[in-house]
Amino acid sequence: MNPLRRTLLGAASALLLKPFAALAAWHKEAFGAKSAPDALKSLGIANAAPSQDVLIEAPQIAENGAVVPVEITSNVKGTTSILVLIDKNPFPLAGKFDFTEGALPFVKVNLKMGETSDVRVVAEAGGKHYFATREIKVTIGGCGG
C-alpha cells in the first residue's frame, strides 16, 4: 500500500464529503436501537397518535423478505418528516425522511424484513406525531442468508 496514495485519497474524499457537512448527522442512537419504542424514544417521540391520514401501501404477503416494496404517504397537513420502522427487524428503524415545502411527504422504497412484522410509519407535523401500522407477512426472511 502506497502511503502517499492513501493520503491523497483521504484528502480527495474529505473534499467529496464536504457537501454533507451541513447535513444532519446519521442518527446512530436511533438506528442502533433494538426495539421500535427505543428508537422512537431516542428521537424524542413519546406519544404518537394513531392516524388514518398516514397511509402505508404494501403487499399483505411478501414472498421475498429481501425486497418488500413499501409506499408511504402522509396526508397530515404540514408533515415535515416521516419515519419508517419494522418492529421485528434486529434494528427496527429503517429510515427517516425530512421534507421541506418543495417536496410532498411521500416515499416509495424497497425494504428488507427478517420475518413477518408490523411496519410502523410515524409522521411529524407541527411538533406532533401521528402513526399507522400495517402487518406484512414474510415467507422468506431477507436479513441474513
Binding site: 474524499s13 457537501p19 429481501a66 409506499e71 428503524l93 429503517a94 418543495g102 441474513g144
Partner: protein, 104 residues
Amino acid sequence: MAAGPMKMRATLGGGYTEVRVLMTHPMETGQRKDADGKLVPLHFIQNLTVKVNGRTVIEGQISQAVSRNPVFSFRLRGGAKGDKIEVTWLDNQGETNKTDTAVA
C-alpha cells in the same frame, strides 16, 4: 460488490414531479456470510439528499434495512420541464456518489 453508478428519471405528474432514482449499492447488513463462511462487513448508505435547482428538498437517513441497489421514488411539489434534480448519497464507509437529471 462495490457501490456503482446511479440512474434517475424525473417526470411531471399531476401537480408534482415524480423522481425515481436507483443507487447501485450492496447494502450489506453485516449479518450475511460469504462463500467462505466469513461475515460480510456492514456496508450501507446512511444519508441521501434530493435537490431541486440547488435547493435541498428532501434529506433522508436510512439503515441497512433498505434493499440492495436501493430504488426510491419521491414526489416534488410543482416543477417545470428542465428543472435540475440532483441526488447524492453517502455510506458508512465514506463512499459517496451523485447524479443529476433535468425534469422531462
